[in-house]
């Protein structure tokens, strides 16, 4: 089992996310994360998914994706040849006895505190998934109230890019 990052260029039309995600459900693919958003062109949206599976599953997933009419490009991103980021917003308890530890962690992880109240504070963390995961683990003892993450987005380095025709 390996972790793969797959970039998909799709037509920017309504229902496209349903088509892609329902295919995963129907074919029994387990997706770790999915992020979707606008691109440089109005005609296309870009979906980034991370997926854990073996090579045969990866091939099958790509072929099933490519078969969808609204999917224009599919590519597995090579980890060494691409950069990836994820964003985490995490709300933790703000207690006098732990406040300083949290502040230190925020500094070391080079993240930001974007909300501060008497009872809680919200940190914004950007980075690769492993960094996000490490920060969450670190915050657990301090009391996580709630959190959300965007899922990974990724681009290839240099001139390589995902373009339809």
């Amino acid at each position: 089992m390996e972790k793969f990052v797959i970039a998909i260029l799709v037509s920017n039309v309504s229902g496209v996310l349903t088509r892609v995600s329902s295919m995963f459900t129907r074919r029994g693919f387990n997706i770790d994360s999915l992020a979707v958003g606008e691109t440089e062109s109005f005609d296309y949206s870009r979906i980034t998914i991370t997926f854990t599976g073996d090579r045969a599953e990866k091939k099958q997933l790509i072929r099933q994706l490519a078969k969808l009419y609204d999917v224009k490009e599919v590519e597995v991103l090579d980890k060494a040849e691409s950069v990836s980021r994820e964003l985490l917003l995490i709300k933790v308890e703000n207690r006098p006895e732990t406040r300083q530890d949290i502040m230190s962690a925020v500094e070391v992880f080079r993240c930001k505190i974007i909300d501060y109240s008497a009872v809680s504070l919200i940190c914004e963390v950007t980075g690769e998934s492993s960094k996000i995961q490490a920060f969450i683990e670190l915050m657990k003892p301090y009391g996580i109230i709630e959190m959300c993450r965007t899922g990974m987005v990724a681009l290839e380095r240099g001139n390589n890019c995902l373009k339809s025709e």
Binding site: G15, T18, R19, S22, M23, R26, A56, K59, Q60, R63, Q64, A66, K67, L68, Y69, D70
Partner: protein, 557 residues
Amino acid sequence: MKISGSKIVMETLIEQGCDTIFGYPGGQVINLFDELYNYQDQIKHVLTAHEQGASHAADGYARATGKVGVVIATSGPGATNLVTGIATAHLDSVPMVAITGNVPCSLIGRDSFQEVDIVGVTMPITKHNFIVKDVTKLAETLREAFRIAKSGRPGPVLVDIPKDVQVAQCEYERGHVVEAYPKLAASEDKLLKAAEILKDAKKPYIYCGGGIIAGGATREIEALAEKLDAVIGSSMMGLSAISTDNPRFLGMQGMHGHYASSIAQDEADVIIVAGARFSDRATGKKERFAINSKIIHIDIDNSELQKNITVDLSIAGDVKNAVSRLTAMIDPKKNPEWMARAAELKEIEASTIKKSEALTPYNIIDIISSVTDPKTVIATDVGQHQMWTAQRYPFKSPRTFVSSGGLGTMGFGMGAAIGAQMGSGERTVLVTGDGSFGMNLNELATAVSFNVPMVVVIMNNGVLGMVRQWQTLFFNKHYSNTTLNRQTDFVKLAEAFGAKGVRVTTCDELKDAFAKAYKENGPVVIDCIVNPDEFVLPMLPPGGSIDDIITNVEVEA
């Protein structure tokens, strides 16, 4: 000049070469049907008894002709009634365009009367689907629907048209019949590799799927078999691709396949799989499938490669093109031992078939085939009668077998036979069972209205035979809900619908009745009373393999 959305639909259908459509009117397609009234000399609309029947008719029309079948239904229940028909077409790769009406755009999402999100419902059972909310996009969307339906591996496409879009007007310009997207051509490298594997083949077996029919590759397959000195088998969907007159053809393989075909496939050293997708009904237990052979898989749908069975060489591409190029790459071979073995297997197979004077399923099929001609379309429903037909009927030319394979839709036959008859212009025979016929026999009304020359042969055993067979073999004869215990008189029923009906209990009666029925210019129902304990054999038990093949069953009373 500006014309309405409804008129654009008619114009686009004509432009795409469509002259027959199947459907049923309703509130949100009144405008379409109003326009159809003006076009009735150019587009024949076949009004069925139920939208499901219309969807199967469009499917049967497409299977028998290779053209895109078109069905129209209203919103809500009209649209959901198409679902089984669309799924049936999807599983068997049948080109179809389904047009549904919907409530006006302003009412969508408000749970309006007869509103359903049919695009959402049919997403997993169509190649693609559209909702058209802008009349200026209507013509191009319909054209694209036809294009998608017939490109590559064919399939159904649904176009949902809200009522206000049918009414709205815009400019329209007559276009041309859309061409399918260019067919994927197999890579030269892969074909060379295939030729390399085939060099040492002493026991080659070519396994044909429905793709041979869709891709029109009958001659190419026959030529390859000739050059390789190979035998040919097929999936159920591949039946009629290769004539049973071809001595190399061993028939259908798989769960209820011919003994010779299934055994030869297992003994082969190389299997060329063309236009087939390794359905579980064809392979049985995957781990045991074709363990003695190398497999070369050719299919136009890339996503079928390495999906169900891991093969030695997978080739994505149009099968006609790939097979003819592959044939050119290989030297002619002779495999006399393999041919002798195939002949021997055929003999063993023949010896396992019990002869009888009674009105057995095989005798019924033999009587039918003694009267029909090579172009006659044979449709079936789903169950034992379907397997008996698939095993026994001597199909001679492609597109003469119309049957629901992948989805296994009981109730498919009536609609499909009507559509197939209208598309092919040939007399059509529907072989069905009393269970399947009971599901959509309302379409007898359609066959009468349109005076469809078709013979409905019911193998009436009073039970749901296929499930009963499983109950006998694997469920301790617990005949749970498979004994029908109905008092339906199919002869009177046929007459009530305005068709002819006759009941037969012996072979002689059937010979006489069928010969007469086949000459009639309208539908005739022949009710054949058969033994409920006839088995479809051979059988690979569910989850079993060729090692578990059942060729004989003794049933104690």
